[in-house]
Symmetry: C2
């Protein structure tokens, strides 16, 4: 039975880094912690904010650098949905996403039936991966929407929901 796959633990990453001749800096260690098991699909900016509260002075540049590094190492993936910034996902398990077009949150979702998906008319492509994105409205936003629309619970500055069917 496939255990849930994800980015290695901070400790394991420490080892991996050293074995690759990379140095283990406090910035990296903090980011390892912040990303480990993180299911929020944060943007670099969001991660930077969290990191900054624990390590004032850390630079956004370093956050980007470390995230790119981890992606190259296969420890996390990029998620590009809609207009805004790239989001980062340490969940390497076979899964998909649901986006609330109102508040922009992205949630993991396991999807049954993907194996049965039959693309028609692309015999000349060698398919490697399939991504499924559900667009909808979360219950919290649904409520705020029922009455007025002042009570938007946008945690982040309400990302522009460029819908891309």
């Amino acid at each position: 039975m496939p255990n849930l796959i994800g980015m290695q633990t901070p400790t394991e990453l420490a080892a991996a880094y050293r074995s690759q001749g990379r140095k283990l800096t406090p910035q990296r260690q903090l980011l390892f912690q912040l990303m480990y098991g993180n299911d929020k699909h944060p943007t670099a900016e969001a991660l930077f904010a969290e990191a900054s509260s624990q390590m004032p002075g850390i630079s956004l540049r370093t956050v980007y650098q470390t995230l790119n590094e981890l992606a190259e190492m296969g420890e996390l993936q990029f998620i590009d949905i809609g207009g805004g910034a790239t989001r980062f996902d340490p969940n390497l398990d076979d899964h998909h996403h649901v986006v609330c077009v109102d508040c922009g949150q992205i949630r993991d979702v396991h999807v049954n039936g993907t194996a049965a998906l039959k693309p028609v008319g692309i015999e000349d492509f060698t398919i490697n991966e399939v991504g499924v994105v559900f667009q909808g409205v979360c219950s919290t936003c649904e409520k705020g929407r029922a009455k007025s629309n002042k009570t938007a619970h946008a945690k982040s500055p309400a990302p522009q929901a460029k819908v891309s069917k």
Copy 2:
């Protein structure tokens, strides 16, 4: 039998525009033509290039403006896949996309089985749409890849294929 749905013809759009108090400018007419039936999923920049060859002096700003307009009118959709620029799609039919991670081209694909997709664990979401994106390598790129890798047929300046599973 559902006829293939797509953006209205340039003539129909002309009428739609006038009936909405919008003016019918040569720039808009040209863009209607260039987008009508266009299955290349062009970026604003790409469309601007085509438009410029037929109408020197047209501005990129106008291209963006018109595309946004058409999107608001429901005549086309935005597609945001991977890192680069937004791509525009006048195909309103229920369809999905295949992306060549090598050259970046996007092709339409009809997918059988989407109705059977069962998202698990998002009872608190009201789902409105489902998008499926296949990642792969087109036959042309596959060839160029077999031998050396100098012969990349990147039509566009090879978009960075940020894979987002």
